[in-house]
Amino acid sequence: MIDFFSILLLLAGALFFLAGTVGLLRFPDLYTRLHALTKADNVGLGLMIAGLALQAESLSAAGKLVLIWGLVLLAGASVAYLIARGALLRGVLPWKR
Amino acid sequence: MGGLLSDAHWGVLLILLPLFGGLCSFLWPGAVKFIGLATVSAVALSVVGLGDQLLTTGVYHHAVGGWGAPLGIDLYADGLSLFMLMVNALVGLGVSIYALDYFDQGEARRFWPLWLLLLGGLNALFLSADIFNLYVTLEIVGLAGVGLASLSRSGAALDGAMRYLMATLLGSLCYLLGVALLYHSAGTVDIPLLAERLESTPPVWAALGLICAGLALKTALFPLHFWLPKAHASASAPVSALLSALVVKASFYILLRLWLEIFSVRTEGVDDLLGALGMAAIIWGSLQALQQTRLKLMIAYSTVSQMGYLFLVFPLAAAGAFSAWSAVAYLILSHALAKSSMFLVAGNLMHFGGHDRIADLDRAVQRLPITVGAFALAGVSIMGLPPSGGFIGKWLLLNEALNQGRWDLVIVMMIGGVLAAAYIFKVLGFAFTQAPVTHEPKGVPAIMEWSALLLAVAAIVLGFLASPLMLILGIGETVQLMGAGQ
């Protein structure tokens, strides 16, 4: 039963990663790509962590996994912001149809 | 403690002292000169101590951490190591004294820590019996060398240092890959154990090729010498002296050591290839030196040519002849002394006239007789004229080449000597004449003149010390003796 949930969560996570990657490759400009990447990564990673946490041997191991997710969220959000800001400051204009 | 020292452990001091001195000189920039000179003197004394110890008790062997090969790292010193340590101490002392007056405050603060760490790295290199440990020491030597080469921060110095860095890193990487292959072939990085275990398999051959190529690059063997002239010619004078006298010898020492211990019996053709490149280096380096209009470049090309002589040992040592490699050890020592003196002389001449154009030396012999005298004496050794260390080395090498009927080597050596005379006397000739544009001479501190002269005189005196030095070289009779030390 736990295995089943794990697999489900992991697959869902993988799907988000896939979507994020497609977005990264297909979106027209930096800002939209960033959007796709961070959104997909944060959620995808969260799902994967959840899937793995179910398999963890101890509570502390699961805790570590969650900590990783927290750190990645923090870093991802900040870095995405910094990149976007840097791009704006350098005069990279958002894409318009 | 006294007992410990007299017992066995000068070798350890030789490594720890300069490293510690280097750290101290970094921490107390105000006292660099004092710390530096004290450290170098202590190192010189330790070399004497080690020599005394080796003469009485034979080879020195120390298992670091008490583990012993193959798990741990072994330190090892025999006649050849001692010889190289002597080179370090002698040249180091001479150049250190010179450097006291050469550098201004700011440069001195940057020079001494780098130089002391370089000295520590070199000592560690000559005492190591472990090919991976040798890699680490090579990196110390390389990075310190680059730092020193760029010390003056001039465009030319930076350019030279960059070339040197690229070459030395590439050389180290090739060497490291060779080490990886040897380790996985024999399960050890200890030289004596490798000598026992290695067989003639493809990985060993590949390692041989990689190690030879990497070390030849670091030693600036023709045609891998492309980086050397600029790097050595554009550095500050004491640094050029250290690089030409000590640093290129370090990688050659590893090659010689590995050859004598591990590779010599397993190589068909490689020895002749190295010998042929050595011959080409002698001729090419000398011809290039002859064409230079700048003194420092000329001296640097002379190094290329002189390194060529060293490589003649490989075809000759195939027969395992003590006389061949002892000749080369002698050449290393005398070249180190003579060449460091020459670079110091170049430093004096640049200080004096503000340039190093050979044709504009403008009666330097009148104004700086000691400096020009140093150049002449060093030149005698470089040319291989008697009485000098260079002559003894060349005599021994010629003897061995004739003994083995290697006329090609003999003829190249003769031509090399004549060409060396040509480029050295070209300089001396202009030192006597008046230049078209005469300049106001600038005084050169006495210490700088005398230290250059002392190094040159040492190169000459070597010509009379062959017997005791051969005795030292014979300690442990390097061929297959590291194994015997086990």
Binding site: - | L19, F26, G65, P70, R110, L143, A207
Partner: protein
């Protein structure tokens, strides 16, 4: 089990091809920025490879140093490079022009490359399939080493002498960099509240992680180098967020921390040499805490050195003016 092996095998193959492809792109792409980004990706994949090769210690080091710090160094260098050269485009054009060599000079290196790969590959393949290396020796002596992580045992005990010299290499790199004089500051950034708050959160965490890695290194993957590089990363982050170090600290304390690692190593080596009669011969009972002491000092030094290397030129201090 079979399926997992096959999957892992496929994963390995995928990794191999990705790495090859990335390496080739790093070498061949015309845009330096792109090359650096690809190189960082290359480093991260390398970390994966180390995991696959059961070398978690290296994986940690590679992720922190190989990909992280080296990437940061490269990026900073590129930034400074572009700042030095007002017209990078022109330089790129000339370098592109220069990098269009004649056919033989393009083909010959390629041929050499193939030959080297073939030759060395042949050499590798003719190695015996099974070799124990030093595994038995390490196992035999582990009990005397004072730690439980074999890699730490090798690094700090069996081959501790290498590590001593390696600390010197690190210091030498910094000395040489400082000797070159100041480099241009990174292109100015407005102080940024998000970055600052990120620092406030991340730096303590990084220090914590560093301590953890240091402590755990005795028994599990980790140790001074990994801990030190995480500490270095914290330093880099601080520097990026516009952190200014006080003059007073730059003068003596910084130098002290920089030499701490190699200095403690040398002093302990000397003390052991006079008391135990051997270089770096730890008494078995004290080996554990001696190693911890060495590692702590090394961690501080490595962290400070790496951060200082990232900063570049010598920090201005009265001594060197």
């Amino acid at each position: 089990m079979e399926a997992i092996d096959i999957a892992l095998g496929l994963f390995d193959l995928l990794l191999v091809f990705l790495l090859l492809w990335l390496a080739w792109l790093v070498m061949s792409s015309e845009d330096l920025f792109k090359a650096i980004v690809l190189f960082v990706a290359f480093g991260l994949l390398m970390a994966l490879v180390w995991v696959r090769l059961e070398a978690p210690d290296i994986a940690l080091a590679e992720a922190a140093i190989g990909a992280g710090l080296t990437g940061a160094l490269l990026m900073a260098a590129l930034d400074r490079l572009n700042a030095v050269k007002p017209m990078p485009a022109a330089a790129v054009v000339t370098s592109a022009k220069r990098e269009q060599p004649s056919l033989p000079s393009k083909v010959l290196p390629l041929v050499a490359l193939v030959l080297i790969v073939l030759g060395l590959g042949y050499a590798l393949l003719s190695l015996p399939d099974v070799a124990d290396g030093l595994v038995p020796n390490v196992k035999e002596q582990m009990a005397q080493s004072g730690v439980k992580n074999p890699v730490t045992a090798v690094l700090l005990n069996f081959r501790g002498y290498d590590t001593l010299l390696e600390m010197v290499v690190l210091l030498l790199a910094l000395l040489s960099v400082w000797s070159l004089g100041g480099v241009r500051k990174l292109s100015p950034r407005n102080t940024n509240p998000v970055l600052a708050s990120l620092c406030r959160v991340l730096v303590p965490v990084l220090i914590l992680v560093s301590c953890y890695l240091l402590w755990v290194g005795a028994d599990a993957p980790g140790g001074a180098f990994q801990a030190g590089s995480v500490l270095g990363a914290a330093g880099v982050l601080l520097l990026l967020s516009g952190w200014h170090v006080e003059q007073k600290i730059l003068l003596w304390p910084l130098r002290f921390i920089l030499v701490l690692g190699s200095g403690v190593f040398i002093i302990i080596a000397a003390v052991l040499f006079f008391t135990q009669g051997g270089l770096l011969t730890y008494p078995v009972a004290q080996a554990g805490w001696l190693i911890l002491l060495l590692e702590s000092a090394a961690t501080l030094s490595i962290g400070a050195t790496l951060a200082a290397l990232f900063f570049g030129g010598i920090p201005k201090s009265r001594v060197d003016q």
